[in-house]
C-alpha cells in the first residue's frame, strides 16, 4: 500500500456487549478468566430500538449493522467532522446475508401464493439493503460495495476499504460486517455436522467437537493516517497488509497460507516479527486443522513461538463479523499492549504446537499482529496490523 491507512473508529454489538469498551471487558486481564458468551446467541432488541423512525422497515441484519456503525462513527468523531460525504464510502459484508429475510418472504408466498408477498419484507431480501440503510443514515456517498463471500467476508470488506483509500477514491471508508442467526441457518449448519454440543467452544483443543454460533455486527472506520491525525481522531492501529485467496474447499490450508504470506509481503515483514496471532479457529476439528496447518506453512518455526489467541472461544462463530471483531480486538491489543486470552486451559489437540494465550489477557505489547479468517466455502483472508506510529 502506498498510503498509511489506519483504524480510527470501532463499533461492535454482540449478545453480551454493545460498544468496543464493553467488548474489551469480556477479555479481562487482572487474573480473571474470560468466559464464553455464546449463549444467548441473539442480540437484545434494546441494542437497536432507538433507531430513526423512518427506518422502521429495516430487517434485523440492517438494524444490528446500523447499531454497530453508529457506534463506530461516534467513536471516530466523524459525526462532528464529517467532511465531504462523497469522500466517505461504505462497504458492508455478510456471510449468510439476508437469508432469514429471504426465508420470511418465501414462507409468505409458499403459504399464500406469489401475489401476497410482503413488499416491505421484499425490499430487505437483497443483502445490500443494509448497505443502503447505513449510507442513508450517515450520508455515506463515496464508493459502495456489499460482499457476501462467506465467513471471511468481513476481512475482505476491510481489504476492499483499504484499497479504495489507497487508490484515492475515498478519504475514508466505513467497513461493516454482520450476520444474524435463524432457525433454518442453525438447522443447515447442524445438518453439515458443524455444530458442537452445548458448552464452551474450545478452538484447537483435544475435546473440541464443533462450533457454537452467535449474531454479531462490527464496524471499523478506516482512513489515511494524516487525515485522522489532522482531525484529532484516535488512531488505534495501522492496516499494514492484507491477503485474500480462494480455491476448492479441500485446499483450505494452502489457501490460507497463501493469504497470510501475501499479507506479510504487503506489510514488508518477516513472520518472526509478528507478536501475536488472532486466529479464526472455531472448535470445528477440520476447520481448526486447516488453520493450524496454514499457520505452520506460512509462519514456519515461528508458528510454534508466536502467542495465538482465538476470539471465537469467547464470542462464538459470528461468520462475517468474526474477522472484523478480531481486527477490533487486535487493534485494541496493539493500542493497549494486552492480548486477550482464551477461557479455560484447553488440552492441545493431537499434533498441536501452538502457544495459545489461555486465561487472562497477557501483557505482550506486540508491534505487529496477524488476523486470519477462513471461510467454509474455500475463501481465506489475512490482515497484518501494526501498532500506530506517531
Amino acid at each position: 500500500m502506498t498510503r498509511t491507512i489506519v483504524i480510527s473508529g470501532l463499533g461492535a454489538v454482540c449478545p453480551a456487549a454493545a460498544g468496543h469498551e464493553a467488548l474489551w471487558e469480556l477479555f479481562p486481564r487482572d487474573g480473571h478468566e474470560p468466559v464464553s458468551t455464546v449463549a444467548p446467541e441473539r442480540i437484545p432488541d434494546a441494542v437497536f430500538d432507538n433507531q430513526p423512525a423512518q427506518l422502521r422497515h429495516m430487517d434485523r441484519l440492517g438494524r444490528i449493522s446500523l447499531a454497530a456503525t453508529t457506534l463506530a462513527i461516534e467513536d471516530s468523531r466523524l459525526a462532528t467532522s464529517p467532511g465531504d460525504p462523497r469522500q466517505t464510502g461504505v462497504v458492508f459484508a455478510s456471510g449468510h446475508g439476508c437469508l432469514p429475510t429471504n426465508e420470511e418472504y418465501l414462507e409468505g408466498i409458499l403459504e399464500r401464493g406469489p401475489r401476497y408477498g410482503n413488499p416491505v419484507v421484499f425490499q430487505n431480501t437483497v443483502t445490500n439493503a443494509a448497505t443502503g440503510y447505513l449510507s442513508m443514515v450517515h450520508d455515506l456517498r463515496g464508493p459502495t460495495a456489499t460482499l457476501c463471500s462467506g465467513w471471511a467476508a468481513g476481512l475482505e470488506a476491510l481489504r476492499f476499504g483499504g484499497q479504495q483509500i489507497d487508490e484515492g477514491r475515498a478519504e475514508r471508508m466505513v467497513v461493516g460486517s454482520a450476520d444474524t442467526v435463524s432457525p433454518r441457518l442453525l438447522e443447515g449448519l447442524s445438518l453439515q455436522g458443524w455444530l458442537g454440543t452445548p458448552g464452551m467452544t474450545r478452538p484447537y483443543a483435544e475435546e473440541s467437537n464443533g462450533m457454537r454460533v452467535s449474531e454479531a455486527a462490527c464496524t471499523l472506520v478506516l482512513e489515511e493516517q494524516s487525515r485522522a491525525r489532522a482531525r484529532g481522531a484516535r488512531v488505534y492501529a495501522e492496516v499494514a497488509g492484507t491477503g485474500q485467496r480462494g480455491g476448492p474447499p479441500q485446499a483450505q490450508a494452502r489457501t490460507l497460507a497463501h493469504a497470510v504470506r501475501d499479507a506479510l509481503s504487503l506489510a514488508e515483514i518477516e513472520p518472526e516479527r509478528l507478536g501475536a496471532v488472532f486466529s479464526s479457529a472455531n472448535g470445528r476439528r477440520d476447520f481448526d486443522a486447516w488453520e493450524y496447518r496454514a499457520l505452520h506453512e506460512a509462519l514456519g518455526e515461528h508458528a510454534a513461538r508466536v502467542p495465538v489467541t482465538c476470539p471465537k472461544a469467547v464470542l462464538g462463530e459470528t461468520f462475517s463479523a468474526s474477522g472484523t471483531l478480531a481486527v477490533l480486538l487486535a487493534a485494541l491489543a496493539l493500542d493497549t499492549g494486552w492480548v486477550p486470552g482464551i477461557p479455560g486451559s484447553p488440552r492441545p489437540g493431537p499434533g498441536s504446537e501452538l502457544r495459545l494465550v489461555t486465561g487472562a489477557a497477557r501483557r505482550l505489547t506486540p508491534e505487529w499482529v496477524l488476523v486470519t479468517a477462513l471461510g467454509a466455502e474455500g475463501s481465506a483472508v489475512a490482515v497484518v496490523l501494526r501498532r500506530s506510529r506517531p
Partner: protein, 401 residues
C-alpha cells in the same frame, strides 16, 4: 505503485436470446428478443413474461440453476480466451462473481424438502458464495475468490474489483462477471412492488410501465495487457476505468437526479484519464421503470453537458430481460460485441421518447457507428451505482479483432 493495463481476452454469455457470444451478436443485429411467457412457475400477478433461458443439458442435483448459468458462461469465456480446456491455470487466477439473488432456488427447495439428506446437500448450495466456489472448483482456480451481492450492480462491481486486482498486480488473470436465475421470490417481489410491466419493457418511452425480469450470466476473462501479449491471446478491449458511488437516498428508488450515478461516472472517467468528448456511446441501465430512466438521463446530462446531445445511448433489457446481478456483465458484453461490429443495438420497443428522457436513445434499426470507447452504467436497490469504461485498444489492428 505500478498500474497494469487490463484487457478482456474472453467472453461468455448465457441469456434468453443467446447461449453464446456469437448468437448474442446475431440476436442484437437482428433485434431478436428472448422474452416470452414464463414456464418457470405459475404467475398470478400482473406480469407474465420473462427472459427465460433454455439451458442445455440435464439438471444437476449438485448445483443450483444460478451456478449452471454461470458455469455455462464461464466455460465459454475460458475457451474464448484460449485457456480451456487444459489451459495454464495458476494460483494467481481469481474468481469475482456478482449476484443479486444467488442460489435462491436452493433455499426454496431447502424450505420445501422434508428429506434430511436432501436438505443437507441443498444447504451446501444456499450460500451466495457457492457460485464462485463452483467456478473455482470446476476450473481449478486458486486466486482471490469473492462474491459481490449488490443487487443490479453486482456483476459490474465484480468486474471493477477484478480490474483493480490486476491493475495492482495482485492477480494476473481474473474470471469475473455475474449470474442470476429466475426465481419465484424475485418474480413475486417485483410484482408486488408493481415494478414489472404487464405488456412490454419500453425503456425511455413515455408509455413505459415497468421492467421484465430475465435470467442469465455474463463472464469475462480479464488479464494484464503484457500477460495477454506474452501468451498471444486475442484482445477484445481494454477496461480502462470504473467507479462506484452511493445515492444515500432511498432503499429502492434512485436519487431523482442520479446523484450517485453522476459520481460513479465521474470516478470512472477520472481513472480512465478520458474526457466526456472521448466517450462514443453509453449503455445505460434502462430498466423501463418510471423512476429509473429519468434519473439516469438527468445524471447523463449533468456529467456530459452539451456532449449529451450527440451521445448515443441504449438499453439492452428488452432483449433478455432485467437479469439483476448479471445485467452489468451481460450488457457490457453485448455492448462490446456491438463495438466489434461497428454497431449500436437499438433499444427495442422505445418508440416515443419521454420528455424526461430526452437524450439520443438509439432506436429503430440500430446504428452503424465506429465506437472506440464505451461506458456501461448500472444502478441498484440500496442506492448503489457503478460505471465501467471499455475501449478498443489503439493498437487493435495488430492484436485486437
Amino acid at each position: 505503485m505500478t498500474a497494469h493495463r487490463v484487457v478482456i481476452t474472453g467472453m461468455g454469455v448465457t441469456a434468453a436470446n443467446a447461449l453464446s457470444t456469437g448468437a448474442l451478436a446475431r440476436a442484437l443485429e437482428e433485434r431478436r428478443s428472448g422474452i416470452r411467457e414464463t414456464a418457470a412457475f405459475g404467475t398470478e400477478g400482473r406480469a407474465r413474461t420473462a427472459g427465460e433461458v433454455d439451458l442445455p443439458g440435464p439438471p444437476l442435483d449438485a448445483e443450483d440453476r444460478v451456478s449452471r448459468l454461470a458455469l455455462h458462461a464461464a466455460e465459454q469465456a475460458l475457451q474464448d480466451s484460449g485457456l480451456a480446456p487444459g489451459g495454464r491455470w495458476s494460483e494467481d487466477t481469481g474468481v469475482m462473481i456478482g449476484t443479486s439473488r444467488g442460489p435462491a432456488l436452493s433455499l426454496e427447495r431447502f424450505m420445501r424438502s422434508g428429506d434430511a439428506e436432501a436438505r443437507r446437500k441443498l444447504f451446501a448450495e444456499v450460500p451466495f458464495s457457492s457460485i464462485a466456489r463452483n467456478i473455482a472448483t470446476r476450473f481449478g482456480l486458486g486466486g482471490v475468490l469473492s462474491t459481490v451481492t449488490m443487487a443490479c450492480v453486482s456483476s459490474s462491481l465484480a468486474i471493477g474489483r477484478a480490474v483493480d486486482e490486476i491493475r495492482r498486480g495482485r492477480a494476473s488473470l481474473m474470471v469475473a462477471g455475474g449470474a442470476d436465475a429466475l426465481t419465484q421470490l424475485s418474480f413475486s417481489g417485483f410484482s408486488v412492488l408493481r415494478a414489472m410491466t404487464p405488456t412490454v419493457c419500453r425503456p425511455f418511452d413515455h408509455r413505459r410501465n415497468g421492467m421484465v425480469l430475465g435470467e442469465g450470466a455474463g463472464i469475462l476473462v480479464l488479464e494484464a495487457l503484457e500477460h495477454a501479449r506474452q501468451r498471444g491471446a486475442k484482445i477484445h478491449a481494454e477496461l480502462c476505468g470504473w467507479g462506484t458511488a452511493g445515492d444515500a437516498h432511498h432503499p429502492t428508488s434512485p436519487h431523482p437526479e442520479g446523484r450517485g450515478l453522476q459520481q460513479a461516472m465521474a470516478s470512472a472517467l477520472a481513472q480512465s484519464g478520458l474526457t466526456t468528448e472521448e466517450i462514443d456511446f453509453v449503455n445505460l441501465h434502462g430498466t423501463g421503470t418510471p423512476a429509473n430512466d429519468p434519473a439516469e438521463c438527468h445524471a447523463l446530462r449533468q456529467v456530459f453537458g452539451a456532449r449529451t446531445a450527440s451521445l448515443p445511448v441504449n438499453s439492452l433489457k428488452p432483449y433478455f430481460g432485467h437479469t439483476l446481478g448479471a445485467s452489468g456483465a451481460l450488457e457490457l458484453i453485448g455492448s462490446l460485441l456491438g463495438m466489434e461490429r461497428d454497431f449500436i443495438p437499438p433499444t427495442l420497443h422505445c418508440e416515443e421518447l419521454d420528455a424526461k428522457c430526452d437524450v439520443d436513445v438509439v432506436r429503430g434499426e440500430g446504428r452503424k457507428r465506429h465506437i472506440d470507447v464505451l461506458m456501461s452504467t448500472k444502478s441498484a436497490f440500496g442506492g448503489a451505482n457503478v460505471a465501467l469504461i471499455a475501449r478498443r485498444l489503439p493498437e487493435a489492428g495488430r492484436e485486437g479483432r
